[in-house]
Amino acid sequence: MIEDSQNIELLRITTAGSVDDGKSTLIGRLLYDSKSIFEDQLSSIRDYSKTNRNQEIDYSLITDGLKSEREQGITIDVAYRFYSTPKRRFIIADTPGHEQYTRNMATGASNASLALILIDAKKGIVTQTRRHTFISSLLGIRHFVVAINKMDLVDYSEEVFEQIVEEYKAFAEKLSVESISFIPLSALKGDNVIERSTNMPWYQGSPLLDYLENVNVAGGRNLIDFRFPVQYVNWSGNEFRGYCGTISSGVIRKGERVIALPSGRTSKISRIVTYDGDLDYAFAPMAITLCIEDDIDISRGDLISRENNLPAITGNIEANVVWMDTESMQTGKDYLIKHTTKTVKGSFSEVRYKFDLEKIHRIPAEFLSVNDIGKVKIELKKPLYADLYSKNRFTGSFIVIDQHTNQTVAAGMISKYKQVSPDKACESVKAKVIRYPGDKKEKAKSDYDRLSMQGTQCIYVDDEILQKGLCRGIAVDTDEYSRIIEGLCNIATESGVSVVLCTENEVSLE
């Protein structure tokens, strides 16, 4: 009878929207109507509402917990709220709408898999709507539900709703989003929050709670690339020596061969230790302790991986950065970059561009200021073992700390890296191009399958594929054709991806 919610999924939601769009009211309503607020808490909110707001109950008081928030009637910092229904468990990061607190919005979005965007039906899409949608998509959220609130103030008009939907869709086209749903509602009146509203018979979709309970947000977890940043060496001078950490991605089995970075030394996993007993295998995001057969020097900040599937070893990265400090970025200055369990010094060598958050297009910039988002180049004093953020949220992200103020000044998501010359041990797995003549397709394909099975990051390319896509309309046997293949191979190998290439054409590769 006492289940460990084994099959109940946990959904982490971040909210977004402008000031006064009614986010806190909506969440308050969601908690209230799903009976997730305790009676004593409710009665204190009722008392406060009557005395200070002259209304029966102000739902926003449920989440705006700080004194200064209640005084100003706005949300300042993220509040984490929990509720569960028989179908799902939710953690909602109720984030501030105020532009000044964009950094707190990013805080809430970094661990969420669904964004709940609020729009005031009377005002339509405003800058903050775009800004928050963009930040959410940049932080890797792929599912959006857009709640068009205060429908009661526009006479529950379908036309108003449709207009906002169209406008939002046009804007979101530029972003990498998997699914967007739109729900017309009134948080204040409770229309389409828990119950289907009778005021909007034209709306055929689900009410919000129903949607949140059923939306499919599977995926997101990388179970392919084994990455284990060493967090803590568990050794007290006794016989036991284990490497503690949380698996960032992938699966590891007892007896498997592993490689430790940066030493490049390989060994075998001898034990996967937990308090509840040794395991045969473990997977992300478990916190475990690994023991290895040979005595290799491994310390905090090192990374354990597989020989044929390594992260990039890089001293030069390009990243999307959210600047969060009131003091602007200084190029050339040394900052601390904390990435997984490793902290290295690094400096911003170039700001490639920043985003105009109004229109979401790129504009030139020399530096980033508070709440700016831009693409930057970073030079590191020591290499990191990293992946692209799009492949791995944990080995692809980092924070930037100002070593003088100790402030967290920025959050970064790696979008590109340059491999530093890997040492000898890593040479064998350096990304390469494996060539086959055009008539050896079968052999090439089986080789590709074998490499993939071993976990090598690789792609398969042959003339047929090229003719359908990149080289459509270009004759095989031309220089143009060769140039495209060479370009493709260079981009892939520089990103650490091997290419199994099967072509009739002559190509000269480095």
Partner: protein, 302 residues
């Protein structure tokens, strides 16, 4: 066990457990001199259990600190000594002896002043004297509205104060542990747990807790809708025997019991599932004034 197929699904409690263990290890790795605050309550039991798990098979590499007001329930002192000894945990106890020698207690000084002296000041002094740069606390975000705003790594200035309007952003599972000498971080590894998670975990992991959490007949007096336990013969004629238990444990003067028949773990969980009141309704100190917890936290209470 008939199927040997590998599953890559982690249950809710195991996910929370992994997250908490990751946080505890991070602190042990990055700070010079961490300490774990140990209040002897159910959350403390879970937090200590997670620390034991995090460093197994080695010993927990930091001490536990009990900030003792001297007004805790006798059962709590007994349990504290038993539990820490059984699990080979280093225990430190700190009291504000000066205030105690002046006879400060909630009846004479009022709850606000009593808490300020025996809890907040005692805690700040203990952290300072121990030179601790990080202190784990068992607070959860679902407990109280100002706690819902807490970061996992919560920065405190040289005076142990919290500024809720100026918290460091905290993204992914990357924590900023940089501080200057004298400053410290309060760390809340149970941030994302709910009260129900705590009980379900205690049940599944077979974690021991103070027997006061289980219902039995106890002598109490009824005051302001609260069942206050009787430990002296002060009000013998008003005292009655009531089947009750405690949902949260503090000082016996300020902690009320709830009527309950739940004398086993499954019954407690069942009771939790239908509870209509928050656990803190029995904590007198939360109701001193509006935002009293926020105020206490800003001053240094955790």
């Amino acid at each position: 066990m008939e199927e040997k197929e590998e599953s890559y699904h982690l249950s809710n409690l195991k996910t929370l457990e992994a997250e908490s263990i990751g946080i505890i290890r991070e602190v042990a790795a990055e700070f010079e001199n961490p300490v774990m605050l140990y209040s002897v309550g159910k959350d403390s039991s879970v937090m200590a259990h997670l620390a034991i798990k995090a460093f197994y098979p080695e010993k927990v590499p930091f001490p536990l600190l009990h900030v003792d007001t001297s007004y805790k329930f006798p059962e709590m002192y007994e349990f504290r000594d038993y539990y820490t000894k059984k699990h080979n945990l280093e225990l430190k106890v700190h009291r504000n002896e000066e205030a105690l020698s002046k006879g400060i207690n909630p009846l004479s000084a009022g709850t606000v002043k009593c808490c300020a002296e025996l809890k907040t000041k005692a805690l700040l002094d203990a952290l300072k004297e121990g030179g601790y740069d990080a202190a784990f606390g068992g607070a959860r975000r679902d407990e109280e509205k100002s706690r819902a705003k807490e970061r996992v790594f919560s920065f405190r200035d040289k005076h142990g104060q919290w500024d809720p309007k100026n918290q460091k952003p905290e993204l992914w599972n990357i924590f900023n542990s940089r501080i200057d000498p004298g400053e410290s971080i309060r760390v809340f590894p149970l941030s994302n747990w709910t009260e129900l998670d705590i009980w379900t975990y205690i049940y599944h992991e077979n974690i021991e807790v103070v027997p006061l959490y289980f219902a039995k007949k106890r002598p109490v007096i009824e005051k302001n809708n609260q069942l206050i336990p009787v430990y002296t013969d002060e009000n013998p004629e008003e005292t009655k025997e009531v089947m009750c238990r405690f949902r949260t444990l503090g000082c016996h003067y300020c902690t009320g019991a709830v009527r309950s028949e739940a004398d086993t773990m499954p019954k407690i969980i069942e009771e939790m599932m239908v509870a209509r009141h928050s656990e803190r309704i029995t904590r007198v100190i939360d109701h001193d004034q509006d935002s009293s917890m926020e105020q206490k936290k800003m001053e240094g209470y955790f």
